[in-house]
Amino acid sequence: MAPILELRGITKRFPGVLANDHIDLKLNKGEILALLGENGAGKTTLMNILYGLYSPDEGEILINGKITEIKSPNDAIEASIGMVHQHFMLIPVFTVTENVMLGEEYTQPGGLLDSSRAAKKVKEISNQFGLEIDPYTLIEDLPVGLQQRVEIIKLLFRNAEILIMDEPSAVLTPQEVEDLFKIMRSLVSKGKSIIFITHKLHEVMECADRIMVIRAGKVVGESTPSKADPKKLAAMMVGRPVELNVQKEEAKPKNTVLKVENLTIVNKNKKVEVDDISFDVKAGEILGIAGVQGNGQTELVRCLTGLMKSDAGRISILGKDTTHSDPRGITELGVAHIPEDRQKDGLVLQSLIQDNLVLNTYYKKPFSRGIVLQPEVIQKNAKELVEAFDIRTTGTAVPVSGLSGGNQQKVIVAREFSRPIKLLIASQPTRGLDVGSIEYIHRRLIEKRDAGCGILLVSTELDEVMQLSDRIAVMYRGKILTIVDADIVTKEELGLLMAGISTEISAKKRKPKKIREIVT
């Protein structure tokens, strides 16, 4: 039987980059194919071609054995292909129904929209495939996990047979990821076929029927979960043997550098983002905050760094009360911050690398004397940092927008690390980066910790939090559910906490048997 989808020799070039290099791919009906590769490997480009957002320079697409031209999303939709993007394509101020029917609207005889008929259809689909949702809610009022369901319903509304899912687990708790896998299996049991893109090995092992590994635009390996070995897959993804675990020594925490007491933040819609939390970070340790995006971590970090005001509670850094301090005051105490959104908060993209490297120190000696800038000093500083942090660039007087994501992050890290710092707040420090950059940043974080800095690590990547942290706190709906030592807690326990199911982590290494059973 012909595969339901086949890609032959797909090639795509961008200026200076060969994103897809003669890629062949087959998808059989009713199977889940995982496309595995690190950030930047070419997976999303390939799927964008399949969905008609790009056109390939060479190669062809065959649906059910017939060559099909896909020049736009409309063509893809015609060919029964649907895509759930990594960043949701949902309009926050519209309802579920409006988002689902956009582009394929139901109308009444007069020409007006027929929202009730469409809502009925949405309810039908949601019941048929186990995707519970209320068709009349506004998207902005839905949690992220439910928003994803709306994306899937969008595809089913258009009778998609081939579903592409791009990094679907990025915004979900481990439990929600389980639910997602259940939904995916339900879909294929009803005859749908799924391609799912990820860079997470364990998901692939759990969920896929077949695995394809892509690196630097080429297919470098195919396998199935039963035959595959995670270490070999990782090596194929990166092109060299990969150390899956970060090497680190035991932490030696000393004095408290950050103390948060009963912190509460209420946003302007009266929603409580951070709810009476308390914790501390000591010099020489890494406290990791685990939790799914949207549980108050962003607000917490903005408040700690002076960008947002709290409504109650106290923050002290190195003994000084910084509850009402502004960003500069906090920085001058010896605090560094790697922001979550590096392009928006961390860098001035159009400015030169050397200027970005002094973005929060330009007003101090030796970078300026009084109000007069000292360009030679700034440039020398930039040259040294580029060297020390291995930033790949053609020069220091070049706008930072020209660098790759990994190198841009290195600029931020270089800037923050080049001052004497006692506390580092790192938010999603390796989001969207390639494996090499991830390893580099992890190493530097451990180095800093060993040099006596206290680090607050906020990350939605549970693996990262578990590998790097000495202690782990879990945030859920603005509260900290628990703070535990990293080496005695399991991923499953963290997952339950992240989903709001509070469990007691026993002080001894005994793990509750029940949870074990659920997972296996």
């Binding site: 980059v17 994103a19 930047g40 960003p327 330009y362």
Partner: protein, 408 residues
């Protein structure tokens, strides 16, 4: 970057042409050139005599059109610069009177340029900080009328005190006119484009009220009193009809000062940062709202200074408020100069010379001075969308200098 596999026998000429076609200076010159052509076509197509000529024959029509266009632009040129041969002859003659009349167009153009330099720098400063100051006109008005007030109210002061006093009063009111929309933007988020335009209308009407009411000269209606002699700005050629005054020098000094502050000091670093990315700037400890307010205030102050300088150097009294178009012209000046304060001097000269020359042009050919606004619009149009110029003249696009990020 992939190099093409052709022989590297590109000779010097090819490389030169390629570089020229990529350079932005070329774009600017071509934009001006194309604008002039389009302006010429407009002039020709709205002159009934041309149609009559075409009615007689195509050749005659073309001849008349080209003649009109030539006359228009040459009188524009002569009005702005003067006649080159006359100027050379006058230099050799050494006669003061002949020199005066030969160089008058050029020197008078500099007088017209002066307020453009101030307002251009004002707008450029605003743009660099991320604010659109469309209120230069209103700020200029307030600067002018209040400087006039300071000029006639204080009697018996020596010039060394009176001039700076009057200038300061004008500048202060311009600053106020910029401060208000700036504050509103910082504290309430109200968009400065609409607010600065509203402030313009408020300034016109308020000036009108002042001229007809409390500030009216009891001896002549609808005019303010003449300012005291001690408030006059020094003229370089006192005793002649040449009006070039020290305000011109002040404009140059101010623009260099603004350049220095913008690019060589920490204040300028902050301002430009906030303009490019207010989020990252806040994160880095800078105060975006304070910069916004400061930038709008400074921008207003500079425009106010423009008005004050015009008043003390040229007008000496305020008559009925007439929209001068400085506000929009200043935007053109700033955009053409890519918001660089010192380059504003040059682009200001372009527009100042055009404006001054257009008066002669209107007298000689009957083409209204409004054609300058149209020319301006064309020029900014082409500068804002260089791709259009490139496709008209089949120029090459400059290659992106750095490797683009790989897509996943």
């Amino acid at each position: 970057m992939a190099k093409k596999n052709e022989s590297e026998k590109k000779n010097f000429l090819n490389i030169f042409i390629e570089e020229i076609s990529k350079s932005s200076l070329t774009i600017i010159l071509l934009a001006i050139f194309t604008g002039l052509i389009l302006g010429g076509i407009l002039a020709a197509s709205t002159t009934p005599a041309i149609y009559k000529a075409f009615g007689r024959s195509f050749g005659e029509g073309m001849y008349e059109s080209l003649k009109l266009i030539w006359e228009t632009y040459s009188s524009l040129f002569e009005g702005s610069f003067g006649n080159l041969s006359k100027m050379i002859a006058a230099l050799f003659s050494g006669n003061a009177k002949t020199m005066e009349s030969a160089f008058k167009p050029f020197l008078e153009s500099l007088v017209v340029t002066t307020p453009y330099i101030f307002t251009g720098v004002a707008i450029a400063l605003g743009f660099q900080a991320g604010v659109f100051n469309i209120g230069a006109e209103g700020q200029l008005y307030m600067g002018a009328i209040m400087a006039a007030w300071a000029g006639w109210t204080f009697k018996g002061l020596p010039p060394i005190l009176h001039v700076p006093l009057a200038l300061s009063v004008g500048t202060l009111f311009g600053a106020l006119w910029g401060y208000i929309p700036g504050w509103l933007k910082a504290k309430t988020g109200a968009h400065e484009v609409i607010n600065t335009i509203m402030m313009n209308y408020i300034a016109f009407n308020f000036s009108e009220y002042l001229i007809r009411g409390p500030f009216e000269d009891p001896t002549t209606p609808f005019k303010t009193p003449l300012i005291e002699q001690s408030a006059h700005l020094l003229r370089f050629f006192e005793g002649t009809t040449l009006r070039l005054h020290i305000g011109f020098v002040l404009a140059i000094v101010v623009s260099v000062l603004v350049w220095y502050i913008l690019y060589k000091t920490t204040w300028g670093f902050e301002l430009r940062s906030v303009g490019l990315n207010p989020h990252a700037s806040r994160y880095a400890g800078m105060s975006s709202s304070m910069i916004t307010i400061l930038a709008m205030t400074a921008s207003g102050a500079l425009s106010g200074m423009a008005g004050a300088v015009e008043m003390l150097g040229v007008n000496f009294r305020q008559t009925q408020a007439l929209s001068t178009g400085y506000g929009f012209d200043a935007i053109a000046v700033a955009l053409l100069a890519n918001n660089h304060p010192v380059l504003c001097i040059i682009t200001a000269m372009l527009f100042g010379f055009l404006r001054h020359g257009s008066r002669v042009m209107q007298i000689n050919t009957g083409i209204p001075i409004d054609i300058i606004s149209i020319l301006q619009a064309f020029i900014i149009f082409f500068i804002a969308a260089p791709a259009i110029i490139r496709s008209i003249y089949r120029l090459k696009e400059p290659k992106p200098a750095l490797e683009l990020e790989k897509t996943a």
